[in-house]
Symmetry: C2
Subunit: 263 residues, 2 copies
């Protein structure tokens, strides 16, 4: 079941109904902003945090964000037991929500994923000095994110972790990286131009996660690694660049605490 | 007048008709490929070259490109005296053409544009070694291109020229760069991950344009600079990073020869 609800009039339409014009700048130039949320028992999780990030992304792309996204999210999620929810606002002025069944592969990821590190080609401090590079903005210009995931799949991995040219860990194409090093949970700083993760934010309310630069060498000897994202949740990285890590106790604990907090 | 024609059935629809679903991957992830062409006397210019590039981009994004784009382009362009034409194919399986009036600002650009150099944050050889970075692919994930143009506008320039971290000229967000240095026309190599320009290709049939690495220092002392793109054509860069260049004789000659070749 996929449910599509338009912001205008909070009107539900059949999922196969076209809703976007051929000349919408969101379609033509990838100039839309979006958020993907998890829905538990009909309730969109961390809706405040997602709406705040949606507003920040919209400001950066100079997209007018109308009121009503909260009501839109709640209406689209209502009645869904455990689902995913995507909120989108195009530069052409169309807002909509899509509530969708979480793919089985995504659910499986909660028990563990394999990952490879992949160069992003930029230095860790570039995007903080170059606003036009849109670091930290969640837009629908995601073709490179998707191509990076396909590249990982070609290397028989489920996911990828981008690293900078100067040897720092950045983020995954659709997740935030957390590493456990010498017993301490840590995550790369948003000053590297990565997306400020909403799942990370929620986890930092549950346990201490240090925000500090993590080098590629540190990642390579980390005791545990996890990828945090809204719908998949907390995915332990069980194999990283061919090294067997397994699902360790710190990440398992965090995942259990996090999952419990959603109910 | 904007004319929208769908690939399916070569059916013309009113421009304000929605044609794309909310869950089309082209909408959701910027995973569509597109081409923008100039239309002269009802004929799409350099259609073969654009269709070849569309096919190359589609292969890189793993988008199925059905037959019929030639007929689609010809139908959408028919009767338009001087216009722009955008061909798009989404990963969700929707192909369409939009024929549009060339904006007055674009036409003005043919007499000269001002430009600034802007760092892209990558080395000139990165994208040729990193296929996931999608160098040379014309996808609708264009938010960074548009943000770079907005950045140029904030600096009171019409356009931007991306440069690499190691000091080489790359491309403009929607154009190819050509420089005249010591009387020789030259353009950066596609090995830098830039888009292979169709207007450049057409110009190289009319005059010799050397493909060789151009350094930022060389650009800064170039006699003439031009930006080549399909709809705007050949735009002399009359001011670059604040330096007055004017529209010089070599670019003026090329532009006149090129415009004549379209009729």
């Amino acid at each position: 079941m996929t449910r599509v609800v338009l912001l205008e009039g909070l009107r539900e339409v059949p999922a196969d109904t076209p809703v976007l014009r051929a000349d919408d700048l969101g379609v033509v130039r990838g100039e839309s902003v979006f958020e993907t949320l998890r829905v538990v028992d009909g309730r969109p999780c961390f809706l405040d945090e997602h709406l705040e990030r949606l507003a920040r992304s919209a400001a950066r792309l100079e997209i007018d964000l109308p009121d009503g996204f909260r009501e839109l999210a709640e209406k689209a999620a209502a009645g869904a037991p455990d689902a995913g929810l995507r909120l989108t606002m195009t530069k052409g002025g169309v807002g909509f929500a899509v509530c969708f069944v979480v793919p089985a592969e995504t659910v499986r990821g909660r028990t563990g994923v394999t990952a490879v590190t992949v160069p992003l080609g930029v230095a860790a401090d570039f995007r903080s000095t170059a606003p036009w590079a849109l670091g930290g903005v969640k837009s629908t210009s995601y073709a490179v994110n998707m191509a990076t995931l396909r590249h990982a799949h070609e290397l028989d991995a489920d996911d990828a972790i981008w690293v900078s040219t100067d040897g720092w860990v950045l983020e995954a194409p659709t997740s935030t990286v957390v590493a456990v090093i010498d017993g301490v949970l840590m995550t790369p700083p948003v000053g590297t131009g990565i997306l400020a993760g909403t799942t990370l934010l929620a986890c930092r309310r549950l346990t201490e996660i240090l925000e500090r630069a993590v080098s590629v060498e540190e990642l390579a000897r980390a005791d545990e690694v996890a990828l945090l994202s809204s719908v998949r949740g907390i995915a332990p990285v069980v194999v990283l660049d061919g090294r067997e890590l397994g699902a360790g106790p710190v990440v398992k604990d965090l995942a259990a605490t996090f999952e419990a907090s959603l109910r």
